[in-house]
Symmetry: C2
Subunit: 232 residues, 2 copies
Amino acid sequence: MVVTPQLLKTFPLLSGLPDATLDDVAAQSSVRKAARRAIVLNAGQNEEQICFLFEGRLQGVDFTIDGREVGLYFVEPGEFCGELCLFDGGSQPEFVMALTPSVIVSIPLNTMHELLKKHPELFATVSAKVAGHVRKMTFQRSLLGLPNIAQRVCCQLWMLVPEKDKEKEEAHIRNPPTHMEIAIMLNISRETVTRVFQSLQNRQIVKRDGTSLLVVTQVSVLRDYAEGKQEL
Amino acid sequence: MVVTPQLLKTFPLLSGLPDATLDDVAAQSSVRKAARRAIVLNAGQNEEQICFLFEGRLQGVDFTIDGREVGLYFVEPGEFCGELCLFDGGSQPEFVMALTPSVIVSIPLNTMHELLKKHPELFATVSAKVAGHVRKMTFQRSLLGLPNIAQRVCCQLWMLVPEKDKEKEEAHIRNPPTHMEIAIMLNISRETVTRVFQSLQNRQIVKRDGTSLLVVTQVSVLRDYAEGKQEL
DNA sequence: CGTCCTGTGTGACTGCAATCACCCCGCGTC
DNA sequence: GACGCGGGGTGATTGCAGTCACACAGGACG
């Protein structure tokens, strides 16, 4: 499929670029669709492309030596991934997999390099993204250190509460991860996640509204659990 | 204490810089000593300095919400830390603590920024270091996903085997982390680490030589354990 | 309509690592 | 020498989360 400059403009990182530049980049880029659970980027390979997510949802995942899946982060529409090789030309550290059918725009590594050279202001954005990634991973790592499993789940849930809702008493989490996805991120079993959720629902702290919406009815209580001020 | 250009030259990152530049940087930098378990960089603060380790050993550590310590990485002499704020001006994500009495050279963030602007080749090195950090964290995260604890310990041990010894049958690990430090990195208890080590020693796969040297006598067997090809 | 698949809910069982309690040893230092 | 302290070693106990097995609901799809 053909990449139009208009398509590229939908991505915050690129939206400020002059039309001529976008024409140029568009000509060298490509679009593709990825089915559910399709691999978008392979770990351990020099992927030579930066992926921009137009539609769908991706997850960075790794696998342990014994084949277990390890969830690392999500990629939402408008965001990009695979940028690490811009920094050292090394290989992609983790797999990126489509959680839902997705549409992905790929810009070749070289094109991206040229672009960053010409527009250093983009470089700052990409750097900040990597820095943010490090911060997130550090936080996630500290989550895994929690001995209390329920607390771990609550922390992750708290992370998913939109910033704007954190002070309110009710929060909406759209398209929440499945229990399995949460389990993989937190290094616990799917059943355990389900049990924690049951417990939260019984106490009317969260409730589900269809498959694509999770309502946190008592945000402050959730925070207390997350911070260990209360035990579940 | 006064920082001399000669001192700065001992750091690989800075060794190629012209003397005039080093004079300049030295004038704005400072040296300090850190006692064992002293905090070198504080998490959550805008530290505004890049720390170069001249002597000793540092560890990046985080704390879970409930106060548990989480070990992240080590800093060896000649290396630096605290560079993440160069990328986004954000705060330091984790604590950096001295494992042994250490000597640290601090270069202010602004000075460092100027330096990188004037010498983009340094920027590549710093970028590569951050990228490498991300890779390491990703790997460490996948370690934590291992359900078999003994395997986790063996993997960590395998990581500590110097690159040059990985193909040999005997490897030397200088200044190995204490059981406690390993336990913290792997999110398991100190006793469990001890028991795994006992098991490895009984099978004559590793042996200790004083406090500051650990000898891996059967490197290939250790690798098999690490890769899950054999069970301990 | 039936079928398939994914996601969720739940009970029973069990194994394994955390915890606790205590030991020893070596080292620095008062 | 006595002492404290950090580091390592070990047994007994226990609780908790993983695992297994199965049930059920809802959506997609022919």
